[in-house]
Symmetry: C2
Subunit: 307 residues, 2 copies
């Protein structure tokens, strides 16, 4: 079973349509959920995808446009009504606290859990959060207001024990934790069995980056080099390049060029303009440059590193 | 064609479900749209029901719980993106301005239309808005925070001209406006033809009241006496009466008793608790007391006064 999944709650852009929801994703990594952006309706999409509110621990907001954060007041109210007690950490540009704190004060009197804000410098690529499963880095993006993407780097996993070898040496269970952490085994007779004979290396840690909203920005390439999965906005087709530049968005072709040049393993494009009833052109444009591209879609779950 | 319609955008309560949206309605009256409450997702429901954003002129908010107003930031942003220039008036308890103004300042810089707040005293039953189509009155409700319902009273219509009579008297077109306004006709010979011989009375003005959220409150009865349609919340069944009282909500039976005792012509119940997958019990409970009851449902349009 994959233990690093990206759930697409919404992949539309600013204007409401009946085909897409505003931007929101849930990263499901080992035992926790991490939300990226929270457009209006995100909490309903969580219900639809049977994603449990209680496992949500961190929310990462890319920027303060409504289609990326107007679902937060409702989600926080719901968490409160569901009896949450554990802290919720909200990461984002500094205006996120300016936006939310007055709403929390007005609507959530006597909130029984703590909301902590981690205000992110959107101009720097740096570690902004770390727990035992993941490290999260900011990715500076260029949009009409301060904006950043987020890079999720899974923590190194433990190596696999080679059962035949531990059986052969009759290694007691009490040793297993040390062996998983790289120690050699010392037999009762004092013989040293090197760790490399007892374990196979763990699967390499997987990496996922979320880059939306942004004008095409090649400076992000070194930050996302070789990652397993890149979500990059593709608001427009190439024939709307002027409009993309004017509004600080990207085209599907540009997203694919970034993916190709950063040698990512897979690309998923989203943040589709309301003008596209049919996404075929966006898809064709991207796959012509970077074949391993998929179109985001509400309700979709992608296993990071499965390709 | 009915010219006084109520569109149900959402009729759920606070917790999100996949069956219902949070509270929101659109009154479609002659040439304008009036919104009542604006829960999260209301703007998407407007799209689904093909309701044009441009005709919206007034929004009435019952109270400052998130499931009745968290759709406002997104809706206002959308109106801005769609190039609105005409004023938008938001009526509601005074906290509505405290809630919205900072969000407008943060997200809608350079808004090209004016948002005017009409802060409503929720403790009084009084006229709060009037235009050439409708008069709107507040209805004091009893909930955990200041809350009011709204009574929409259609303006008197012009009487119907009896064509056979105006033809008979060969009345010039230039007289028609005066005759519609009640004047008698004076023939060139000086003969007076009484207005009652030339017109049939207009259809009586229709009335609709929205009452949600509220504990059962019989004091509203005189304010809604004999109206055409009453929307009354029915969050719970009667077997949850204790919970209804504790949370200042009503049961389906109580809503029906109010409708019966106020002699309204039709009742529509909504604001269903997330606990009810099946609304049959609520329906049976209400219709046992007041047969002409319908269950609200997303996407439903009711013609006021059609029964």
């Amino acid at each position: 079973m994959a233990d690093f999944k990206v759930n697409i709650l919404g992949c539309g852009s600013a204007l409401p349509t009946t085909r897409h929801w505003a931007t929101s994703q849930i990263i499901d990594l080992r035992d926790k959920l991490y939300m990226i952006d929270c457009g209006e309706g995100a909490q309903v999409q969580m219900r639809r995808m049977h994603i449990h509110f209680k496992r949500l621990t961190h929310i990462f907001i890319s920027h303060l446009h409504g289609d990326h954060c107007f679902g937060l007041p409702g989600l926080i109210s719901t968490l409160s009504m569901l009896g949450r007690t554990g802290d919720l950490v909200i990461h984002g540009p500094k205006e996120i606290e300016t936006f939310l704190q007055p709403i929390i004060n007005l609507f959530c009197k006597g909130l029984e859990f703590k909301i902590r804000f981690n205000l992110v410098d959107t101009t720097r690529h740096q570690l902004i959060m770390e727990d035992r499963s993941v490290s999260v880095y900011s990715i500076p993006l260029i949009h009409r207001i301060p904006t950043c993407g987020y890079l999720f780097v899974e923590k190194a996993k433990e190596p696999h024990i080679i059962r035949e070898m531990t059986d052969f040496y009759q290694i007691p269970v009490s040793w297993m934790k040390d062996i998983k952490q790289g120690k050699d085994y010392v037999t009762p007779e004092g013989e040293i069995v090197p760790n490399s004979r007892l374990t196979r290396p763990a699967d390499p840690p997987k990496r996922y980056a979320f880059c939306s909203d942004t004008i095409c920005n090649r400076r992000i390439i070194p930050m996302i080099e070789n990652i397993d999965l890149l979500y990059h906005e593709a608001t427009f087709c190439e024939n709307e390049l002027a409009r993309a530049k004017e509004t600080f968005h990207s085209t599907a072709r540009q997203a694919a060029e970034i993916a190709r040049d950063a040698h990512v393993k897979q690309l998923i494009i989203g943040h589709f303009s309301a003008r596209y009833n049919d996404l075929t052109t966006l898809y064709q444009e991207a796959t012509a440059i970077f074949p391993n591209t998929i179109l985001a879609e509400e309700g979709m779950t992608i296993n990071v590193g499965s390709v």
